[in-house]
Symmetry: C2
Subunit: 277 residues, 2 copies
């Protein structure tokens, strides 16, 4: 199977590393940055690199689109006459409803797009920070459409396990985006708001323990990617924020009213939920 990865950033580069470790040796890379291609080749994680996708796409059995959400649809439009018959496309995008229907409508009949979301990443961007270690033990989501062939869903699922993911789940795009708003985008919003709410000029670093460090880790955030993810999942994210605000209000009321009993109940509930996780 000839695999072409489009975008050798922190995720695409990680895929190349994972595929190499899993024994795939027909892996090619496309990137607009020639240095990234050189580095990937020097690392031995791609067989060859291309700046121009037209050169290699037509030979690909599997194409991995490891690009920003707003580039996925354009890639299909630009290459729709260039795919190999029966090729499978997959992506790594953190939101799905934004483009999934549009893509299904423009996708050639003989091409199957298996939409996927590897739930692992890093705060940094670029191939220098790519590693397949983050995939090990992580969740992998496949958002199934009624155009997908079972054999291709199986192929992507098996590939995910071979790359080190621990738990592969198939769901519908709507539920995916709803869950992701809560488990991924909301935590990023909270981390950003937390660190931005610090008062300018304080020597905060001397007053922190692990909790502040953990809760602000993802406040170091790729602004181009995450602004697309936030705005591309607007309604779900807003609902997740409202639900969160309601719970924060409960804590606030307890503190305002010195209601120790209810506060303890909230803590017991959160502890049980965290232990169950």
């Amino acid at each position: 199977m000839r695999i072409v990865i489009v975008g050798l950033g922190v995720i695409g580069g990680g895929y190349a590393m994972a595929l190499k470790e899993a024994g795939y040796d027909e892996v090619y890379g496309i990137d607009k940055n020639i240095d990234t291609l050189k580095k990937a080749k020097a690392l031995g994680i791609i067989k060859e690199g291309y700046e121009d996708e037209k050169e290699i796409i037509k030979y690909a059995d599997l194409i991995v689109l490891a690009v920003y959400p707003n580039l996925v649809k354009n890639f299909i439009i630009n290459n729709k006459d260039n795919f190999k018959d029966g090729a499978i496309i997959t992506d790594v995008t953190g939101i799905k409803q934004l483009f999934i229907n549009e893509i299904i409508n423009i996708l050639p009949e003989n091409i199957d797009f298996v939409f996927a979301h590897p739930m692992a990443g890093r705060e940094k961007k670029g191939i220098d920070y790519a590693t397949n270690q983050v995939f090990k033990g992580a969740n992998f989501l496949i958002t199934v459409t009624d155009k997908n062939k079972d054999e291709n869903l199986d192929l992507i699922e098996n590939l995910a396990y071979k790359m080190g993911f621990k738990n592969v789940k198939r769901i519908c795009p709507k539920y995916h985006d709803e869950m992701i708003a809560f488990t991924s985008q909301l935590p990023h919003a909270l981390a950003v708001a937390l660190i931005n709410s610090d008062i300018e000029g304080r020597n905060t670093g001397e007053f922190i323990g692990d909790s502040y460090r953990d809760l602000t880790r993802i406040a170091n955030i790729n602004e181009s990617l995450w602004s697309q993810l936030f705005l591309g999942n607007k309604e779900n994210l807003l609902q997740a924020i409202y639900n969160f605000e309601k719970e924060l209000d409960k804590i606030k009321s307890c503190v305002e009213n010195e209601d120790k009993e209810t506060l303890q109940e909230l803590f017991i509930k959160s502890s049980l939920r965290r232990e169950k996780l």
Copy 2:
């Protein structure tokens, strides 16, 4: 120097371990739980354990109060005629203004209380989860009062370094409580509200990555301790929550109004702050 640790829980037990590793061999423990005392002795981290504090307090050069915030004042009241002349007392409490003035008023003239806050802990409670590993590289705060003798402040500071803390800072109680509301209590409130805002019955664990895991770790929280810490630092915590809500509102507005530019500015600000940390 004869050191007596009152309360061999996760912090008191950790102190005993750290003191042992630092070469102190005159360390005694007080705990109301006889099994805890037996375990501490079996581990070799105390020379002897006592259920009744009266037996050993009068011989102590240094007393470490590793008890809940609401027990600190009572300990002083109950033992004020029982201290050795010139003894030093220190504590490990996460808030200071709650009791610091009251204690200074009732403390015998020949006793010096050096109020301290080791900024390291664990979600779990009890000696079974105690470890001095969490102190290594951590921050240690001393809240200075005008009754403290310099030599005793130096003694506690040196002890903290010997126990593995990396950065010891002396500050006033007011600033301590203000900063701690932001760096410690607010993150706990956010973690609790985040996990409690999940909708009942969802299989959330299959949709999480590191971010959700990191942001909810401290949602597993000791409800007795943390309800005291929250209510004992009420005004500062409420102010920290208000400041946070303002920042979350900015993000929410950006999403509602699809204001990508401002959203990216918020992300750039948070990234810079996190990198500086």
